[in-house]
């Protein structure tokens, strides 16, 4: 026994002394506590101790990228060299231009300096929803109704044109319709990266409008079990949400587990009535496990998300006339009944299962990544209580490989991606027929970056085959996408130019829809003659910042050929107006995003951030605007940070204001919407060093407003549409251990 103890003790001591160490200091060489040391290639993070020191985990291969970041300091990325103590000096950062700045940061989607990538940190503790958080970025909006159904719109484009990835797997969840939400929640997520427009070469040519890449929070290097329990209440929906998370690691094995349960009733309008059937319920569980050695890393992830979503503003017998207001609004709320989803209709029942296996292999300056993902999406739409009108399974399997090689100032990425999608109905009536689509893509991207200059060029070839036996249809779509970027920095001025092209082949829903879409009260007809939609985008980003003021100007222009759209026809089937998919020869989307950040010298903890987003669309075929073009907006955020000392309670107070201009640029069958102001306020505190408390008031002045992208703005008989929720307060508590 003594011998065994001696051997174990020897190896323990040996392993401690064999580990590399590092220290993070500020400009005055004082150790910085709580700095995030993120091992990018290993998706692993740890935090520096009180004296700024940290121990580098075992088996980190040479040349791995490490990102060192702390709010208020300039982020640094270094390459790891073993047997060498790391000392990092972080410089103070006064002006941080939100998440849109051209800076050095580690990204999944590419080099921020060369590609239009924006990032948003996601947190389990937030007063707003996942989608609302992301829409704080300029040029990003959401379409939906209440907190239940929400999806992201990037520079006026959404649905099939904005591709969503979750931990490397493309999410296919019938995203063609505006009443189908994003399909997962913020549970366990750490960050989202966004590419606006068609620059997402590495992750598919189909992202004509943009690409969202959601990443789970990294694994934590800590043998002590860490985690949190959090709860949230929001009185606009009487929403109650509870979450937990656990993180643990030992001997290069890592494990994360998260769970969530949320219920919400119908939301309250500013006039204190309730939008009937805007209630929802959500359950989620996810876990990920990783094992790594010096050369390789295996990651397995599983996620299940189940949602029940009421579809508001419907009556039991849809007629083409005006809707009686009393049929879609309630005067009061009964908490004993209004969480119940069993007898409300229409109802969506969504169940998503996502399996991902990821393998990374490191050798010298090279990294080989391999992904296999399998996604099962089941969507049921109920009109009746006892059986669904639709019951569809969409099964998607994806394989992806990427090889990254660094040679001096060059980085080369070569890869391929293959996807198989299968849509199957389990009901006699259906909107979209059974069908399959298989595609394969090959790409190559070259980045060059040296000091103040960089460029990037890339090309991608995609081939897609769509088969639908019911219509005896088999067609192939192929096209080449490309992207190029140039970056130059001179003193405090930074400029980046990008040009990119992408294509999107028509989706099964666009080709073969033939039935009533209960979520939209429309009879939808596909068009099997649709061809590939092609987008080309120019994007210029100019940035200047001094110690206390920063500005970003970001004009863009996108031309889309053969734009696929759904348009109303002058006919009625099964008591619903008929809409048919069609194609416009040329559509232009242009605009400008401006970001300002002011940080006064006399008050370093005060931050004033403002963004302007201007979007203009034009359909050259009709000489009119595109439907659902977002209104121009000014978003302002004022935040005061309070330095934290041992017993201090207050962390920060922030005030967020949106001014939305009126939208008169409407399509042929669309109504204009009015301007509005919405103010939200958040107060963040820390109790007993362990409990985060976040209290917020949304729509502080109880403004009655209908966003131009609201799903329920054109309800017959409701002039001006149904407003968004009125004033509400929310409270969030998170206990971390």
């Amino acid at each position: 026994m003594r011998i065994i103890f001696t051997i174990v003790f020897f190896f323990q001591i040996f392993s401690i002394f064999s580990q590399d160490k590092g220290v993070v200091v500020d400009q005055e060489s004082i150790g910085l506590e709580g700095v995030t040391i993120f091992f990018v290639d290993q998706n692993l993070e740890l935090y520096s101790k009180n004296d700024g020191s940290f121990i580098i985990p075992k088996a980190i291969p040479d040349n791995s990228l490490i990102e060192i970041k702390k709010p208020g300091y300039i982020t640094q990325i270094i390459q790891f060299k073993s047997s060498k103590n790391i000392e990092i000096k972080l410089e103070s950062l006064h002006v941080q231009l939100d998440e849109v700045e051209i800076i050095e940061s580690a990204n999944q989607l590419g080099n921020t300096k060369l590609v239009s990538i924006e990032k948003k940190v996601l947190n389990d503790l937030s007063t707003s929803s996942l989608v609302e958080n992301i829409t704080q970025l300029s040029g990003v909006n959401w379409i939906g109704s209440g907190l239940g159904i929400q999806k992201i719109v990037v520079r006026g484009l959404s649905g099939m044109r904005v591709v969503t990835y979750l931990n490397g797997m493309r999410i296919e969840n019938q995203q063609w319709a505006n009443d189908h939400g994003i399909g997962f929640t913020e549970l366990g997520l750490g960050e989202v990266e966004l590419i606006k427009g068609s620059s997402a070469l590495k992750y598919g040519g189909e992202a004509v409008g943009g690409l969202l890449y959601f990443k789970d929070a990294p694994f934590l290097e800590s043998e002590k079990l860490s985690g949190f329990v959090s709860t949230k209440f929001d009185n606009s929906h009487f929403l109650s949400g509870n979450k937990f998370g656990l993180q643990w690691s030992k001997n290069n094995f890592y494990f994360n587990l998260y769970g969530q349960y949320t219920i919400a009733t119908d939301y309250r309008l500013p006039d204190n009535t309730y939008l009937y059937n805007s209630r929802f319920r959500n359950q989620g569980i996810k876990f990920s496990a990783s094992y790594r050695s010096e050369k390789t890393q295996h990651i397995f992830r599983y996620q299940h998300n189940a949602e029940q979503l009421g579809i508001p503003a419907h009556v039991c017998d849809p007629t083409l006339g005006d809707i009686d207001f009393s049929q879609i609004l309630s005067n009061d709320l009964s908490l004993s009944e209004d969480y119940d989803m069993s007898v409300i209709r229409p109802l969506q029942n969504v169940s998503n299962h996502l399996f991902i296996y990821e393998n990374n292999y490191f050798i010298n300056n090279n990294k080989f990544s391999f992904y296999v993902g399998h996604f099962i999406n089941n969507l049921k739409e109920y009109e009746k209580v006892t059986y669904p009108a639709f019951d569809m399974d969409l099964v998607s399997t994806q394989l992806r490989m990427n090889f990254r090689k660094k040679v001096n100032y060059f980085t080369i990425n070569i890869g391929s991606q293959a996807t198989s999608n299968s849509n199957k109905n389990h009901t006699v009536d259906y909107l979209i027929p059974d069908g399959t689509s298989n595609d394969i893509g090959l790409y190559s991207i070259l980045d060059y970056e040296k000091k103040n200059l960089g460029f990037n060029v890339g090309a991608r070839l995609d081939y897609k085959e769509v088969t639908c036996d019911s219509y005896n249809f088999q067609n192939n779509f192929s096209s080449v996408s490309s992207s190029s970027g140039l970056f130059y920095k001179h003193k405090d001025h930074v400029i980046r130019l990008t040009y990119s092209s992408a294509f999107r082949s028509p989706h099964l829903s666009e080709l073969f829809s033939d039935g009533v879409h209960h979520g939209t009260n429309r009879y939808e007809l596909g068009n099997s003659n649709l061809d590939i939609e092609k987008g080309r985008q120019f994007d210029i980003k100019y940035q200047w910042s001094s110690q206390h003021f920063g500005v970003i100007l970001n004009p863009f222009l996108q031309n889309i050929k053969n734009y696929i759209s759904i348009n109303p026809l002058d006919s009625i089937i099964e008591n619903n107006r008929v809409f048919e998919y069609t194609q416009f020869e040329k559509v232009t989307i242009s605009g400008m995003e401006i970001n300002l950040h002011y940080h006064p010298h006399f008050m370093h903890n005060l931050h004033l951030e403002q963004s302007y987003s201007i979007v203009e669309t034009k359909n050259h075929d009709t000489n009119k605007y595109l439907a659902l073009t977002p209104s121009n907006k000014i978003k302002t955020k004022v935040r005061v940070d309070f330095k934290q000392k041992n017993l201090e309670l207050l962390k920060n107070i922030s005030l967020y204001h949106i001014y939305s201009f009126e939208q008169n640029n409407v399509s042929q069958f669309e109504l204009p919407t009015d301007s509005y102001n919405v103010v939200n306020i958040d107060v963040s505190c820390m109790l007993f060093k362990k409990i985060d408390l976040l209290i917020g008031i949304s729509n502080l002045f109880n403004e009655e407003y209908v966003p131009h992208l609201s799903r329920i703005k054109d309800v017959p008989g409701v002039p001006g549409g149904i407003p968004n929720p009125g004033r509400s307060f929310n409270i969030n508590l998170k206990y971390t251990f």
């Binding site: 937990f244 656990l246 009964s334 007898v343 009746k384 209580v385």
Partner: protein, 96 residues
């Protein structure tokens, strides 16, 4: 052991939030369309489980006329499209 206890508590919490599918009985109505194009909901009583599924799937035969205000809803067969059992936005019977 403590770690497994944490895990057990968390997972038990999550599964305790799951909903049981119990037997359900619901009041249904015929969406009787008046000549004016206005719908006149006419109650036909409460239906449970298999009977509920049957009426929603196959429709309902009304054996006797029903007097609904000034309108007589005639005894007839009413197809599934005209039968509605889902809840509506009227909450007048709620306790406040």
């Amino acid at each position: 052991m403590k770690k497994f206890l944490y895990l057990f508590i968390m997972i038990a919490f999550l599964f305790s939030c799951s909903e049981d599918d119990n037997s359900q009985c619901i009041d249904c109505h015929i969406a009787f369309m008046l000549d004016t194009g206005v719908e006149l909901p006419t109650d036909i009583g409460e239906f449970c489980d298999d009977d509920l599924a049957d009426i929603e799937m196959n429709g309902y035969t009304l054996l006797e006329d029903i007097q609904n205000g000034d309108t007589t809803v005639p005894a007839d067969f009413y197809s599934a499209d005209m039968i509605h059992c889902e809840e509506h936005a009227d909450h007048d019977d709620h306790d406040h």
